[in-house]
């Protein structure tokens, strides 16, 4: 088997006394879409934070194309892992185009002095970055809005802009944290088409989502995380049929009540852990 583009090896994350992740191992093959599902508080976002270097895993490591990723978000981005956020985090007072250009930052060379003297090489680099950013805006369907301030965009467009900004870093892997949260069915379908289009460009994708139907209609592989442990992984059909998943996550109606309970329990444990620390 070829080297997976992104691999997590036995990643554990402990906050005080709470084990948020327990030996999670995952492999993402190049050009695939991997879905990560699980109840609230299962550790999905924590796992993303470990992948992007925001958290340093207590044990275990993350590898991009076989090379261990550094524990520094800026370096992880440079290496080729980009992400979006569950709660949108654009630069609100910058224009749409500028937001994408900030994503382009790591692929530009101009240092602080070069920009002072505006030489031809500098202009060339700046123009190339702008051109690429405009392409990406067109790709996500935001062309014509480039001079709008990010905070004035409607919600769905802000999500698209976050994706364009992440793509501007030329990632090998794109991590999407609940890309369809708060979207209506049409917007959700548009998001699904966009993620397919991203895969077409050769970028591998990991998606966290609550919307199970969305995940099963989108992903090549699905992993189920429950209370920090990887419960099941496989193709959507395998995962859908697995009795443990049905039991732990899907089956028992009303599943949301259960998810709620799980998250409350985890929160209490977390609080307990913090108090223990203090």
């Amino acid at each position: 088997m070829s080297t997976p583009v992104l691999e997590a090896r036995d990643v554990s994350m402990v906050f005080g006394g709470l084990k948020a992740l327990k030996n999670v191992s995952l492999q993402l093959e190049e050009g695939k879409i991997l879905g990560l599902i699980g109840p609230n508080g299962a550790g999905k976002t924590t796992f993303f934070n470990c992948l992007t270097g925001l958290y340093t895993p207590t044990t275990g490591s993350v590898l991009l194309k076989g090379t261990t990723l550094p524990g520094d978000p800026a370096k992880v981005t440079t290496a080729g892992v980009a992400r979006t956020f569950q709660n949108i985090r654009l630069f609100p007072s910058m224009t749409v185009l500028e937001n994408v250009l900030v994503g382009r930052h790591v692929r530009m060379k101009q240092g602080p002095l070069a920009s002072l003297f505006h030489g031809p090489a500098y202009r060339k680099g700046e123009n190339a970055a702008k051109e690429r950013s405009r392409e990406l805006l067109e790709f996500v369907g935001l062309s014509g809005l480039e001079d709008e301030l990010a905070r004035n965009l409607p919600y769905g467009d802000q999500r698209r802009l976050e994706i364009a900004r992440a793509l501007a870093t030329d990632p090998a892997v794109l991590l999407l944290d609940e890309p369809t949260a708060g979207m209506n069915p049409q917007e959700t379908e548009a998001a699904r088409q966009l993620i397919f289009a991203i895969r077409e460009t050769g970028v591998s994708v990991v998606v966290i989502e609550h919307d199970i139907k969305f995940i099963f209609g989108l992903c090549d592989q699905v992993s189920v995380l429950v209370q920090g442990e990887l419960l099941v992984e496989g193709t959507p059909d395998v995962v859908r049929g697995d009795p443990r998943v049905v039991e732990a996550y899907l089956g028992k109606p009303p599943d949301e009540v259960e998810a709620e309970v799980a998250s409350v329990v985890e929160e209490q444990q977390h609080r307990g852990a913090q108090e223990g620390q203090a």
Binding site: F91, L101, P112, E126
Partner: protein, 305 residues
Amino acid sequence: MSILLQQLANGVVQGGLIALIALGYTMVYGIIQLINFAHGEIFMVGAYGSLATYTWLLPQGIKDSWVLSLPLMLLGGVVVAVVIALIMERFAYRPLRNAPRLAPLITALGISVALQEAVRTFYPDATSALRFPRVFAEGNLALGPISVPWSGVLIIVVSIVLSVLLQVYINRSRMGRAMRATAQDPDTAKLMGVNPDRVIVLTFVLGAALAGVAGLLYGSYITNVNIDMGFQTGIFAFTAAVLGGVGSIRGAVIGAFIIGLVKTIGGQYMPGGTQYDYVWIFVVLILVLVFRPQGLFGEPERVRA
């Protein structure tokens, strides 16, 4: 009438000088939410740096021609200001990056006193005001009833040119965008590959370089320097930054010109004369803070999630 025009001209000169310093306050605040009270002292050491360059480094032949000595003194002053600012950032502020806001603020006051005392102790004869050499064209620019020394004209031109350049740099360049991104959301900027340390260092360097330029211009306009100059002018610059909306480049410059004009006009026409010019400046500041706490061009403080 001619007195009014003359005082307006003087106010614009003062405003230009204050603007160059206010930019440093406002940029550092924008990036790390620190009011760097030691910034006035960076301006002061910049002036002493230029003076030292003149006194000890320049040969007599160069001293005689301001065309040669001015750029060299400028270089000396800017280098000294930038080096001191870099040391200050690295050893005083960086270790306190995640400390409560009050800690770096108190540290800034401490550095301010330390720098004044260091210059007083180690710079020869700095216990009293030192004469600053004439380093620009002699005489005055006469425009009808107004007469402005050429060194004052230089202040106006340089401050406006540098403010515009700074604004363009921050809006158009790669590192400028990184600065704004860091100011708006440091964590996300980091995730976009922006190195926060580099941005913060660049911010201090730009602020200090402008303060260094201001130090030389102050010396050549006032014709003497003393160790209190940073504190006095720093207060005006800080007030200008708050008036314009701290964090805003345009606000700092416009605030500075307002302060400069209030100072000269108030000193001329209000009871008490120049002794009371501070009073009018702070009256303006208080009015702004009461009616528009975010300053003229500032954004209302956002609560971050």
